[in-house]
């Protein structure tokens, strides 16, 4: 049997589990080793070590009232809780708690799609609703709306939004937290709060206007531990008449500067609506010379051009994005984009896919880049280990955020390539993804293993990347629980004033410190001396 939470006696723990059974039923309290292991982080960089974050039990309520009952018992016994929605965000910790010994509050059973309005293009969902669920619901009922799905699409709308995940369609929808409108939260005291217009009981605009009246507090419930979110509204995208996916390639290393500047300008002007993905085909794969140049951290443009000349003509950079809307509008947007980029010598344009909606089931299956069309997929899996490379157990995402400037992307690629090589790792493939309107996120895969020696190296690499990138002006936007303390340290302006504010809020909102202790390094007063 798993150990009880720190500071809770075995007797009290068993008593608490019986009380939890009284709230949710015996079938929905999980305390056997086999069941609790389901909440283990299979990609943990601490796998099998004493510090690995493990749950003590799990409880699966299916209503707001049951969540309140769980919270009440947690306050009574001092049980740390760790709410999850679907718990499948594997590269950021999965379902494992930030604080070992926590009782996972598994909200998978709260999987009701409470409302979808085709007229208003909104939905209201519970935390267990996955992108799969919502997509299927819209498609089965022939509702001409799109979700903006995370990729892979097995996660939940609420969990991904609260962790500030991103998607691929129009800017109004692909910042998943920004696309929400109204939430319901069970506070650590057990009180239920609704935000925005939803706080006005008769409001007809709960999913239409975000702010309501008075201070807008929704943001404090993201990447935090101030309550258990039990409902959220979201805005959905109207299915367009058509879509055109395109690719723009440029031949030289420094071409990325005008490429990104121009595409960013077009995004800001709403000419390019979708997420723009900028990658280097030349730096993909495992060519030893390419990896040597990346690992050197300072290869010159001339060295890269020589390599490019020997590499069979692959373009140095490629951008891909999608237009959505009426066909004649798309044609005009695409032509304008080409006109704006035509000044880059050697630029090439390609139309890679076009669709007219709605799609048949057969057409859906044939879509290569599903997430760009609101279709959840599992395509991302299987693209992990490089052919011939060492077997990987998994990876964490390292996600620094940079300005949308090509020279920053080059500098970041140089820096991280050397950091990987210095620690004995193959440099990660890097792309700059413009999820948000004014930044790029540059995802790097940092491999994790099932042995302590390799994981020690991986943790050292991760720490190096977090600190080194922050020092260069590229802090991360999101981070695995094992590194949340480190991450918050890089947001330490004025001797950690932001962190102190977070913990001041924690003390006020969660006086007994029961909800997700340690998440994003926000610790309740009673545990501050024991923080990881």
């Amino acid at each position: 049997m798993p150990s009880p939470p720190p500071g809770v006696s075995e007797r009290d723990f068993q008593s608490a589990l019986r009380d939890l059974e009284g709230v949710v039923g015996r079938d929905w309290v999980f305390s056997s080793d086999e069941d609790v292991l389901l909440y283990r982080d299979g990609y943990s960089p601490l796998w099998g070590e004493a510090e690995e974050r493990m749950a003590s039990a799990a409880v699966a309520p299916n209503s707001v009232e049951q969540v309140q009952g769980v919270v009440k018992i947690a306050n009574q016994y001092g049980l740390p809780l760790y709410p999850i929605s679907t718990g499948r965000n594997l590269t950021y910790g999965g379902a494992a708690p930030a604080y070992s010994g926590s009782v996972v509050v598994d909200l998978n059973r709260m999987n009701r799609i409470l409302d979808v309005s085709a007229r208003d293009k909104t939905c209201l969902v519970e935390p267990g609703v996955s992108y799969f669920d919502m997509y299927r619901h819209l498609r089965t009922n022939k509702i001409p709306l799109w979700i903006d799905t995370a990729d892979p699409g097995w996660g939940g709308l609420i969990g991904n939004a609260l962790d500030r995940g991103g998607g691929y369609t129009d800017i109004e929808f692909r910042d998943h937290f920004d696309a929400h409108c109204g939430m319901e939260i069970v506070l650590p005291t057990g009180e239920v709060v609704r935000t925005g217009m939803g706080a006005s009981p008769q409001a007809k605009s709960a999913q239409l206007f975000k702010y309501g009246l008075g201070p807008w507090v929704d943001g404090i419930f993201s990447q935090s531990n101030f309550g258990i979110v039990t409902k959220m509204g979201f805005w959905l995208m109207e299915e367009p008449e058509a879509a055109l996916q395109v690719s723009v390639t440029v031949p030289k290393r420094r071409d990325v500067v005008p490429l990104v500047d121009t595409l960013h300008s077009l995004m800001c002007a709403h000419t390019v609506p979708s997420q723009v993905n900028v990658v280097s085909p030349l730096m993909a794969g495992n060519n030893p010379e390419m990896l040597r140049l990346r690992g050197s951290g300072g290869a010159s443009d001339e060295q890269w051009e020589r390599y490019a000349a020997s590499a069979g003509g692959a373009p140095f950079w490629a951008a891909s994005f999608v237009y959505y809307g009426p066909k004649n509008v798309i044609a005009a947007q695409w032509q304008h984009t080409k006109d704006r980029l035509a000044g880059i010598a050697g630029v090439r344009f390609a139309e890679t896919a076009s669709y007219t909606f709605p799609l048949t089931d057969e057409q859906v299956e044939a879509v290569a880049d599903k997430a760009r069309y609101g279709i959840p997929s599992l395509n991302l899996f299987g693209s992990r280990a490089a052919p011939g490379g060492p077997p990987l157990e998994g990876h964490m995402d390292f996600s620094p955020m940079i300005p949308p400037h090509g020279e920053e992307l080059i500098a970041l690629t140089d820096y991280t390539g050397k950091a990987y090589a210095d620690q004995g790792f193959t440099p990660s493939f890097v792309g700059g993804l413009m999820f948000h309107p004014r930044t790029m996120i540059c995802f790097h895969a940092v491999p994790t293993f099932r042995n302590a020696a390799d994981n020690a190296r991986t943790r050292k690499l991760f720490e190096t990347l977090v600190r080194g990138c922050a020092e260069r002006g590229w802090p991360i936007y999101r981070i695995h629980p094992v590194f949340q303390k480190l991450g918050m340290e890089t947001f330490g302006y004025n001797d950690g004033a932001l962190h102190r504010l977070h913990e001041t809020l924690k003390d006020a909102i969660d006086p007994n410190g029961i909800v997700s202790p340690g998440r994003y390094d926000i610790w309740p007063r009673r545990l501050r001396g024991t923080r990881a």
Binding site: L37, N108, R109, S117, G153, V364, L378, N379
Partner: protein
Amino acid sequence: VNRRIFVQNTALVATGFSAWGRAHAAPGGAPDLNGGAAVALVDRSLPGAARFAADARARGVRTLEFARDAADLWMREIEPRLRAGPVAIAGRTSAATAFCVELLARDYGARIVQRTEQGEAVTFVISQSPGQRAALAPAAVRAQWSHSHA
């Protein structure tokens, strides 16, 4: 990613679908792993897929073919079947797909009970077992979905 099997009682078998079929096929009919329905999930892009699919069909098992991404089949076929009641899922897929399907099926109390790797393909059986964790998404809960689509 392809070694993540949490379930401690997973039994690895060294043989593929044929052995599975011999061990579990009901006399004169479809395989019956758990007193319920069975489906076969086949990634047609992998070696041996055609033989596996033909073998499954010959045993009367509903055979679902896809190429690389099983998400659509999960949404349209597998998850509704798991929601409706016990079902055994035999598969010949990539290790990544096997991992994904197993993780998704956990919410219905199902676990991998057989698994073997053959080059880039994995042959597996996912099934529900008595005493395992119950389903997290019973039909009664799903049935409460709203139909207000004004």
